[in-house]
């Protein structure tokens, strides 16, 4: 009997949820939208592993290099590929030059044939960019004829910029330019997988997910409680017509279930819509194809089961202290004062779980993922346990004030639980975000490398491939629009042996003006040579510096032939002091003007041109890139920055920002919904208060206080918990403890902003509710 009775009761509840007239519909819809948004986010999260996989798989399929290149002889079925990545106004362009060796070369993924020299396949996004007005400089840089577009299979995202350009004569660069190689086919041939995540990075990824999902869970729990009071009254009416206590609980469960299932449907809809929209959106430089967003089936099933189950459990939990009598709802007497001790169990337990891992980041030990997840979750969920206690204690002590304050405080005193529930989500999200921001700020130092570049001395650098006339290239770049000065410096080395020497000495080649950028020269004429003051002490080096010694410039190494130019160490080699602000810290050794070297030595130079730009010229950087491409497609142009960050680190932080934004928006929506619902419940009372002359401002302020007081408490608690968690995490990763106040303030600021936004958005309905028409009974 019981299974059928159960089903009957649940179905009845579901019917109530859907057919309760206009009110019922609105409530069901609110619940469904709330749950739906949560489900969409959960599904997105469930899809993230797939997104990463899909991108990774595509990256694998088109891979055209390996770290340890096998020696492949030119054959009918081989191709030479050169990496010539560039960028356009900060957006990276994946650029490849391809030169087939024979008639049957492998074809890059996504295009149907290898472009002939002077032909080019471009990605749709790049195609659009090339055709857009105002991008003449880009067209000048890529003048080749576009013969087709790269298909989706060859791109990792719809907005990716990429091209394949047909070229000839690339093979002479093999072995000289690490970006040029010969391959037999595209795809990951070496079986090298990309490097695994650093345990600290892994910890960060894990934390981002935990921190984002905890508030989503809390949000769903809040959403199924929308309209609770009205539902309680309806259940009381059911008791009156003969339902027993268990039946009404089952009916309530049925109602929650209906809302959750509807939410699942809506959530799937949101998710599908969102993934369609995703194709057109690029967030923080990452774009994805819609079909990447396929949630892992197991995770999707988990979401589909867990959400309705959670909805039912939350409903039953919320009803646990409610006695539904036929004549109304009784909340078990005066609710007992909240006790602190068990509420402390969660956060303390969380700390206990994290404690054993303190310091493990230092020796690259692995973190126990379960303990980390459990510990962080316990700490964060602990916020929701502590907050009602904090709110109750605090509002219980709040004193006198204006009428608006009194109305708000009294209401909070009477229902501090509701108030705490409203801000739980925000508090948890902010606590998690603060902890992560702190950890990020700390770890940032570790993952940020000092490049040794001084953007004040030069803003760009063009590295020229072998065989380019340095002086001509320098002159051409100097004449480019937006370039104030170009400094051409080349380097090579010389040694005592012609082949595979053990010791070598670096040679820096440049004209007098260029050398003065590196060292302080007392006098200089073409033909002079100097020695950096900081080089001579090692015995091996001393030998190589003996005046008149015969040496070989650019010796050969097995597999990498050099120029092998004979040279004699000059008799006069005055020591000169290296400039503290030399263009690069490694520009030291023997400094020579070009005339001091034999002509043959000048062929094997690795030349770089350092550029000082006129920042006032708007497209100076793009001008330089275009000019460099004109000098040689293999010229590598880049912008100087004082520091670089690990890119993976950036991606994780991006994830956190995107996620936190989404979660807070979601919570804001739920806050607004419950706020409006509370206002509607009090419609009559509001009208009565207006009737006897209450100023609208007073009521508005009281609504603001009602939200502001709990949110302030919530944010304070969130800050405390966030700082604690952040501190523990920093200890775990062995990062020096430091509180990043700007990020704490910005996170709490965002939380506060959400509340202000919600209050502002609930004002128009509030003003409408406060119209005296509310007094009309019909």
């Amino acid at each position: 009997m019981s299974a059928r009775r159960w089903a009957g009761d649940l179905a009845m509840g579901a019917r109530f949820a859907l057919t309760g007239g206009r009110e019922g519909w609105i409530r069901a819809l609110l619940t469904a939208v709330g749950v739906g948004l949560g489900v969409a986010l959960l599904l997105l999260t469930a899809a993230v592993p797939d997104i990463l996989d899909a991108r990774h798989a595509k990256e694998d399929v088109r891979q055209d290099f390996s770290l340890t290149p096998p020696k492949i002889p030119a054959a009918d079925d081989t191709i030479v590929v050169a990496h010539v990545n560039t960028s356009w106004h900060g957006a990276d362009i994946r650029a490849r030059l391809v030169a087939p060796d024979g008639a049957h070369p492998p074809v890059p993924v996504g295009i149907d044939r290898v472009p002939a020299p002077g032909e080019m396949y471009v990605s749709p996004a790049l195609d659009k960019l090339l055709k857009a007005p105002g991008n003449g400089l880009l067209r000048e840089r890529l003048p080749a004829k576009v013969v087709g577009t790269i298909g989706e299979r060859g791109l990792i995202g719809p907005t990716e910029l990429a091209y394949y350009l047909g070229e000839r004569g690339l093979d002479r660069q093999i072995g000289h330019d690490p970006g040029v190689g010969r391959i037999k086919r595209f795809g990951n041939v070496s079986g090298e997988s990309s490097e695994g995540l650093d345990p600290v990075l892994l910890l960060l990824v894990l934390l981002v997910f935990v921190v984002l999902l905890a508030p989503v869970g809390i949000f769903i729990a809040t959403a199924v409680r929308f309209g609770g009071e009205r539902r309680d009254r309806r259940l009381a009416a059911l008791r009156l017509v003969g339902c027993d206590g268990r039946m009404v609980r089952r009916i309530a469960a049925g109602e929650a279930l209906a809302g959750a299932v509807l939410g699942l449907v809506l959530g799937t809809g949101f998710f599908v819509l969102g993934s369609q929209a995703a194709a057109t959106v690029e967030l923080f430089g990452v774009s994805v194809f819609p079909d990447y967003l396929n949630p892992t089936p197991a995770l999707a099933t988990l979401v589909a089961v867990a959400v309705p189950a959670a909805a039912v459990l939350v409903t039953l939990f919320a009803l646990r202290r409610v006695v539904i009598e036929p004549l109304g709802v009784v909340r078990t007497a005066r609710p007992t004062r909240r006790r602190l001790w068990w509420r402390l169990l969660l956060p303390v337990g969380g700390l206990a779980m994290l404690a054993p891992m303190i310091g493990q980041g230092a020796d690259n030990g692995n973190f126990n993922q379960y303990l980390v997840t459990g510990g962080v979750l316990a700490l964060l969920v602990g916020v929701t346990a502590l907050l009602p206690w904090v709110v109750e204690r605090t509002v219980g002590r709040l004193g006198d004030g204006a009428v608006s304050w009194q109305l708000a405080v009294r209401r909070l005193q009477l229902s501090s639980g509701t108030a705490a529930r409203m801000v739980n989500g925000v508090a948890v999200a902010v606590a998690g975000a603060i902890a992560l921001q702190m950890l990020f700020a700390g770890v940032q130092a570790d993952f940020t490398k000092n490049t040794g570049q001084d953007p004040n001395r030069a803003q760009m650098e063009v590295d020229l491939p072998d065989g380019v006339q340095v002086a001509a290239a320098g002159a051409k770049l100097e004449g480019t629009t937006g370039v104030r000065a170009a400094v051409a410096l080349s380097r090579t080395e010389y040694s005592a042996k012609r082949l595979d020497p053990d010791n070598s000495m670096q040679l820096i080649v440049g004209d007098c003006a260029a050398l003065r950028e590196v060292a302080t020269l007392p006098s200089c004429r073409d033909g002079d040579a100097f020695l950096s003051a900081d080089w001579s002490d090692e015995p091996a080096a001393r030998k190589l510096l003996a005046p008149g010694r015969a040496v070989w410039v650019d010796p050969s190494y097995s597999g990498s032939p050099g120029a092998e130019a004979p040279w004699t160490v000059p008799a006069k080699l005055p020591k000169v002091a290296t400039r503290k602000d030399a263009l690069s810290t490694d520009l030291s050794g023997v400094l020579v003007t070009p005339s001091a070297l034999p002509a043959k030595a000048l062929t094997g130079l690795r030349a770089s041109v350092y550029l000082r730009l006129d920042q006032a010229v708007p497209e100076a950087e793009e001008q330089v890139r275009t000019a460099a491409m004109g000098i040689d497609p293999l010229a590598y142009t880049w912008t100087w920055e004082a520091t670089t960050r690990d890119e993976k680190f950036d991606t994780i932080r991006t994830g956190l920002f995107v996620g936190a934004a989404a979660v807070l928006a979601l919570i804001g929506a739920s806050l607004l919904v419950s706020q409006l619902e509370q206002l509607r419940e009090r419609r009559k009372l509001l009208s009565a208060l207006i009737a006897f002359g209450t100023r609208r401002r007073t009521l508005t302020l009281s609504v603001l206080w009602q939200t502001a007081i709990p949110i302030t408490l919530g944010l304070l608690l969130a800050t405390a918990v966030g700082l604690t968690l952040g501190g523990v995490l920093m200890k775990m990763t062995a990062v020096p403890l430091r509180v990043d106040w700007p990020s704490v303030l910005s996170m709490t600021g965002i939380g506060a902003g959400i509340v202000v936004a919600v209050t502002l958005l609930s004002l128009p309905p509030l003003l409408r509710l406060m119209r005296p028409d509310g007094l009309r009974t019909e």
Binding site: R410, L685, T694
Partner: protein, 229 residues
């Protein structure tokens, strides 16, 4: 027709429609200081709308309302609110006490809205509660008192500012006879003692019997029985 001389609150030619529904169709009204006037009529006749218009809660579509020599239609919303705060008192069918505030805080609320300091407002509130024989409920919340007690608290709240007009919309509608009569006695006694006028909307004759005269509202039109006779 002009308002009878000496009337405190008078209205004529009141018209008000809610969408297609005509709530008032040329209703008129007048009341003297210290007078208790019952607005009677079947439900849906427009008596509540007439009360809302007279109290400045609802603006009529046409017609004039003169309170103490001032035309109300010329007042801004803020002015009418101020008037309701300081000169009018209100009693509704279901009390409409603020559930979070204690009874004495509810009673003191109108005073506090006009800027009276809390202590003083609550002292006055307590005095009024004593007059309505509910002073022992001061610290209780509305949810903890009976309907009759709550309504007495509501009457105390309506009278606490010493209003010149008290508007009572079915003040006994939710009460049994005994409690209803007691509330009416206390309300009219208190109003008489302060020379306040009472506009009483009711459909019960025994409640209307506490008035000095009645005005019958039917189909949005009013009929002053005293002047008709």
């Amino acid at each position: 027709m002009t308002a009878p001389a000496g009337s405190l609150l008078a209205a004529e030619g009141l018209r008000k429609t809610y969408g297609p529904t005509v709530a008032l169709d040329g209703a008129e009204f007048s009341i003297h200081a210290g007078e208790v006037v019952a607005l009677m009529g079947p439900s849906g006749s427009g008596k509540s709308t007439l009360l809302h218009c007279l109290a400045g809660i609802v603006t009529p579509d046409a017609g004039s309302i003169v309170y103490a020599g001032r035309e109300m239609s010329g007042m801004t919303d803020a002015e009418r609110s101020a008037l309701r705060r300081s000169e009018f008192g209100f009693v509704f069918q279901f009390g409409q006490l603020v559930p979070e505030l204690t009874c004495v805080e509810n009673v003191a609320l109108p005073l506090r809205l006009s800027g009276t300091p809390r202590k003083e407002a609550e002292k006055t509130g307590r005095d009024w509660m004593a007059r309505l024989e509910v002073d022992e409920l001061a610290k209780k919340r509305p949810g903890e008192v009976s309907g009759g007690q709550g309504q007495r608290v509501a009457v105390a709240r309506a009278l606490v500012t010493g209003p010149r007009v008290v508007f009572a919309d079915e003040p006994t509608g939710a009460l049994d006879s005994l409690n209803g009569e007691r509330v009416m006695e206390l309300l009219t006694d208190a109003a008489r003692s302060t020379n306040a006028a009472v506009v009483l909307v009711t459909h019960e004759a025994r409640v209307a019997a506490y008035s000095d005269r009645e005005i019958v509202v039917r189909d949005g039109k009013s009929r002053d029985m005293e002047r008709a006779v």
